[in-house]
Symmetry: C2
Subunit: 211 residues, 2 copies
Amino acid sequence: MRSTTNFEKTDKRQQLLEVAETLFARHGFEAVSIRQLAKEADVNVAMVSYYFGSKDGLFEAVLAEKFPKTRERLQLLAADTQLSPWEKLASTIDIYVEKFMNGRNFHRVLMREMSLKQRPQHVKLIAAYMAENQQIIRGFIEEGQVKGQFRYVDTEMTIASVFGTLSSVVNNSNLVTGMNEDNMYTTAQQTRVKDHLKAMLQSHLMVTKAG
Amino acid sequence: MRSTTNFEKTDKRQQLLEVAETLFARHGFEAVSIRQLAKEADVNVAMVSYYFGSKDGLFEAVLAEKFPKTRERLQLLAADTQLSPWEKLASTIDIYVEKFMNGRNFHRVLMREMSLKQRPQHVKLIAAYMAENQQIIRGFIEEGQVKGQFRYVDTEMTIASVFGTLSSVVNNSNLVTGMNEDNMYTTAQQTRVKDHLKAMLQSHLMVTKAG
DNA sequence: TAAAAAACTAAACAAACGTTTGATTTTTTA
DNA sequence: TAAAAAATCAAACGTTTGTTTAGTTTTTTA
């Protein structure tokens, strides 16, 4: 054993995880070979099986690293008693627009794994992570409804529209004038998406219009 | 040569095309092997290369068969002078909800190929087909704006929200209460999606509210 | 009906895949 | 510092992949 107090786990294990996140995001799960991962991480091919059991295990380890981060941010919003339901929703939009557009490659991989129902293990895991986060967002909308500030719209479909818009933008930026793969990280492009989502949600949800 | 007046082209060619549409839809492009295709179509493996040049060529032939059908329906709507812009938009929603939810497997493949930018040929082709159709829809919204019936919203982002919602529903039905892979073809589920999209678009677009 | 063209086939090709084996090196334990 | 445990490695395993080759059968042409 290398060290018992190693909070970063083994070097090579960590290297593999980081390279995996990058390469899976860039090329997709099946397009990345174990040899490619090993070479990029400067590690022997056998280490993937050694540390993660399999290529699938490595992918799941990447998920387990990334998902909890966003959930913590949402929980912070939920706990904030100063914010109105609409303000929470608006902040949620900000969070997710940035998350999707900055980390577009990673999100593309998730969507691909969800639509390609080839690996049920991945589908189940990702769906579970997503459901957790959406539950919190649903709380924001229902809070607004209870307080008489939001209409009683189809909450689940409304959330689907938000995430769907983001998927659409990330997967298909070329169908939006002026937007492309390379400027998606800019404030200008992200502001455009934020503004649209907020405007659309506001007219859809708000009982009384006004900022 | 088999026959010059063969409007169905060669039998085996057609068989391959049909099997390809089914199998690509069911499992995705890369998950289907040429041997699998050939076996299912009761054809020799070499016929794929013979008729379509490659597996990619076969995929592109499937696209060329499917896409024009929807475009024709949209063009019919565009040519109808009896319909208001909103009625055209509402019909468009009906068309696409049915198209996506009934042909969900096929649409999943398209989205996968778009997000997995691994095969630029496919991406370009699909994007071009999509852009053609979206151009027509854009016309409906702009017509409503010119006629003073619609607000001057971000048209492209609004369209992205419609298609995004559909993608989200099709890829992730399990996140919507009561909806799943197997009941998505039912009127009840499709009506739910249609109602949501129309309600959301109406409050987003309409200058004066009312059905 | 004989020659030419097209359709079709079985077999082989080279490359890439995820994973395992068995041995070696490095680190930890005591 | 010797024994035990963990980490690392090169090499090989068996499969599967998309495509091609070289030959045979079927159809069309004239």
